[in-house]
């Protein structure tokens, strides 16, 4: 009997050793083919919800649907149903992955261009390199594990591509994702960050465009700060960042005296007037030296800038109020039934010139703003003339009808005389 036990033990040991010694089947399967692995199979049946959760989202996870099994990140043997084999360190099982090693682990595939080519021809592979330059990456390298790593934004299990609307990094959801840390004032104060950026951004027109108008091209955190290389833009590059979309304004700013002046003063260009996160709709009333106006924060009363600001403000105000009155007049005449096509075209022209005038504010040049407001006023005068012409036509018709009234009255008088004559 000892013989049999001995044989059995040896066979078993050899089998286990053989099994363990045999190389693990590759955790990377055929691209696009969903893997069936033992990890999901076992974990989906567990009682502990924390351990069951990853298995429950496995079906939608992009890695699993592309053929990369759990073992692709966690190691181990996905083909074995025996948990001691499947989760054996000898098979490379690492268990829960430490925060500090996550970027490198993800990068081991995602930075490998040849490897990623199997999945998508144009997929970026610079994420890890960018991350290392970011504030998050730099802090992590110094040992701070409180910063964001890949999984903080993309999720750990059930990772969806950023183009999927349910992904935490889909454009409309980014601010909530960043806000999980950046909205926590206590946490941010440890890094000297105010912590109000998220709430400020939510007041902005960019946020409104993104969330209310569903304009996915509207900037969110990553648009200005970078996604993987997340860093606040430096003083000199603020206008570069804004100018990516606001090219017309940026070109004009570059022509203005403000460009060099701000650089010398180490002032962030666009942000100085428009703010960085709480970017609201600019108002013409901002221009000037008064209380709620912005020019006075640098300029002193009577200096070149203050004088220019006053001229610009008055030119804009004049054009703006003329637009309102002319529009009201044209609409009134149109409602009464006169053709106002010419006037409407002129009003459109005036409006366009006014928009261009607001654009020219960035040149800080009174001449350039005034050339546009003059064009606007010219078009408005033409529209006004058209409306006046129509009003004159209405008066002319009235006088024409007066004449016919006179003729009718004459006829009536003569008829009465005729009747009298007849009945005498």
């Amino acid at each position: 009997m000892t013989d049999r036990v001995l044989t059995a033990t040896v066979v078993l040991t050899l089998a286990t050793a053989a099994a363990l010694a045999a190389p693990s089947p590759s955790p990377i399967g055929t691209p696009g083919k969903h893997t069936e692995d033992s990890c999901v199979g076992c974990h989906s049946k567990l009682d502990d919800s924390r351990l069951r959760a990853p298995a429950e989202v496995a079906k939608s996870d992009i890695h699993l649907t592309q053929g990369v099994s759990c073992a692709g990140c966690h190691g181990g043997d996905p083909s074995s149903d025996d948990s001691s084999v499947a989760m054996s360190p000898a098979r490379g099982f690492t268990g829960k992955i430490g925060v500090r090693t996550i970027p490198e682990m993800c990068g081991s595939c995602h930075s490998n261009a040849a490897f990623m080519l199997r999945y998508s021809p144009n997929i970026p592979t610079d994420q890890l390199a960018q991350y290392r330059t970011s504030k998050h990456g730099q802090a992590l390298a110094k040992g701070d594990t409180n910063v964001a790593v890949c999984t903080s934004c993309h999720g750990t299990h059930g990772i969806l591509p950023p183009s999927d609307a349910r992904s935490p990094v889909y454009p409309t959801r980014i601010v909530e994702t960043c806000g999980r840390c950046h909205g926590n004032a206590a946490l941010m104060s440890r890094y000297g960050i105010k912590g109000d950026e998220v709430s400020e951004y939510k007041r902005s027109v960019h946020y409104a465009a993104l969330v209310a108008k569903n304009d996915l091209s509207a900037p969110t955190c990553k648009s200005c700060h970078g996604a993987h290389g997340a860093t606040p833009p430096g003083i000199s590059s603020v206008s570069n960042v804004c100018g990516t979309c606001h090219l017309s304004q940026r070109e004009r700013f570059d022509q203005s005296p403000h460009k060099d002046a701000f650089a010398a003063l180490q002032q962030p260009a666009c942000e100085s007037c428009h703010s960085n996160h709480a970017i609201l709709h600019p108002q013409d009333s901002w221009i000037g030296m008064g209380d709620k106006q912005i020019c006075g924060s640098c300029h002193s009363a009577g200096d070149v800038g203050a004088t220019a600001a006053a001229s610009i403000a008055s030119a804009l105000a004049k054009a703006s109020s003329a637009e309102v009155t002319t529009l009201a007049r044209v609409q009134r005449v149109e409602r009464s039934g006169m053709l106002m096509d010419e006037a409407t075209v002129k009003l459109e022209e005036a409006h366009q010139a006014f928009v261009m005038a607001q654009l020219e504010i960035h040149t800080a040049s009174v001449g350039r703003v005034e050339s546009q407001t003059k064009a606007a006023l010219g078009a408005l005068t033409a529209a006004d003339k058209s409306a006046a012409g129509a009003e004159a036509e209405i008066r002319y018709r009235r006088s024409g009808l007066f004449v016919s009234l006179a003729v009718i009255a004459l006829a009536m008088v003569l008829l009465i005389l005729k009747i009298r004559a007849m009945e005498r």
Binding site: E334, R335, S336, G337, M338, L339, I394, R397, R398, G400, L401, F402, S404, L405, I408, A409, A411, M412, L415, I416, K418, I419, M422, E423
Partner: protein
């Protein structure tokens, strides 16, 4: 001159026009204190003729679809030569016609001309007033502007309150559940075909009856009428009527000059009703009365009660020739005279008060 005589001869040979000429030359209009009242009927007819003329002219350019109606009216008033005049005259003449019709009706009432043997004239006249108001209501929607759209919606809402037939009537009028392009097309059909046809028939009857029966001399004025020489219809009364008609024409020209009819803003069915929506002035007294009635009276819905009272009132008014027993014998009952004055006072005061904004 010779040619005219020959022409007349030719017609007379074929159609025996002599009796007609006899009738026309002998037709007389009684002359008395209240002969002035005899002009209102003709004046109403004058405004109706203006409506037919200007209406046909508008018909040359108007398009009865919700997509094009407003634009076609805009085209008429901005681009068609004198289109603004034709349109303004059409809108004003509608109002003057109804005003004149009311004046005609009340003067007929107060002079007791509804009495036997003129019951049918009164009844056809009553129907003609209803048709005139129908013309006004259907025509009001046709420019398809904001005011007219919402006024029509509110106006047609009322018919849904009629018991039993209310829902069917609403769908019949609106061409659907709500006021849409279908309503516009339907109202257009009523306005240019159905109502004109019925009006032509009833007007023909109304005028024929008057020719047959002659003008009524009011109670108490028979002596005066006998003493004073009656007015020969041809040419005297006709010339006098021309003066009145010219006055009507002058009024139209003045109104078109001083108060040209607005084009307004195109109707948007999805916009909310602008503040201060109200129907045309001839509906105002009913409109304000219905607004004053509380939501529920003795368990009955206020509006339904109001409409019921108006319906009943209309019925009484219609049946006046029968109800006023005294009038059949030539002595009209005083009570009906008082009723008439009360009704006139009610209509005038409520209309003026509404226009003055008393009810706001």
């Amino acid at each position: 001159m010779r040619m005219l005589e020959e022409f007349w001869q030719a017609l007379d040979e074929r159609f025996d026009l002599a009796p007609l000429v006899e009738f026309a030359t002998h037709k007389e209009v009684p002359r008395h204190r209240h002969s002035w009242a005899y002009y209102f009927g003709g004046l109403t007819l004058f405004f109706f003729l203006v409506q037919i003329t200007t209406g046909i002219l508008l018909l040359l350019y108007y398009r009865p679809t919700s997509e094009a109606a407003f634009e076609s009216v805009q085209f008429i008033v901005t681009r068609v030569p004198f289109g603004w005049l034709v349109r303004s005259v059409h809108s004003w003449s509608a109002n003057l016609m109804i005003l004149s019709a009311f004046a005609h009706m009340f003067s007929v009432y107060f002079l007791g001309s509804y009495a036997k043997p003129r019951e049918l004239t009164w009844w056809s006249g009553f129907a003609l007033l209803g048709l005139a108001v129908g013309f006004g209501f259907s025509g009001y929607l046709l420019p398809w502007n904001e005011l007219s759209f919402f006024a029509t919606r509110i106006g047609t809402d009322m018919v849904s309150k009629v018991p039993f037939a209310g829902a069917w009537l609403l769908k019949f009028l609106r061409g659907g559940e709500d006021v849409t392009g279908a309503t516009l097309t339907r109202f257009f059909g009523f306005h240019v075909a159905v109502l004109p046809m019925i009006t032509a028939a009833l007007l023909g009857l109304h005028l024929a009856l008057i020719q047959r029966q002659g003008m009524h001399v009011p109670e108490g004025l028979e002596e005066e009428a006998k003493t004073r020489k009656p007015i020969p219809f041809v040419p005297n009364f006709m010339l006098r009527e021309s003066v009145v008609w010219l006055l009507g024409l002058a009024a139209l020209a003045a109104l078109a000059a001083f108060f040209p009819w607005e084009l307004g803003v195109k109707a948007d069915p999805f916009a909310s009703a602008p503040a201060g929506i109200h129907p045309e002035w001839y509906f105002l007294f009913m409109f304000e009365t219905l607004k004053l009635i509380p939501a529920h009276v003795l368990g009955i819905e206020g509006e339904l009660l109001g409409l019921g009272v108006f319906g009943l009132g209309g019925l009484v008014w219609f049946l006046v020739p029968v109800l006023d027993r005294g009038s059949r014998k030539g002595h009209r009952t005083r009570a009906f005279l008082v009723l008439g004055w009360l009704l006139l006072a009610y209509i005038v005061s409520f209309t003026l008060a509404s226009l003055a904004g008393v009810f706001k």
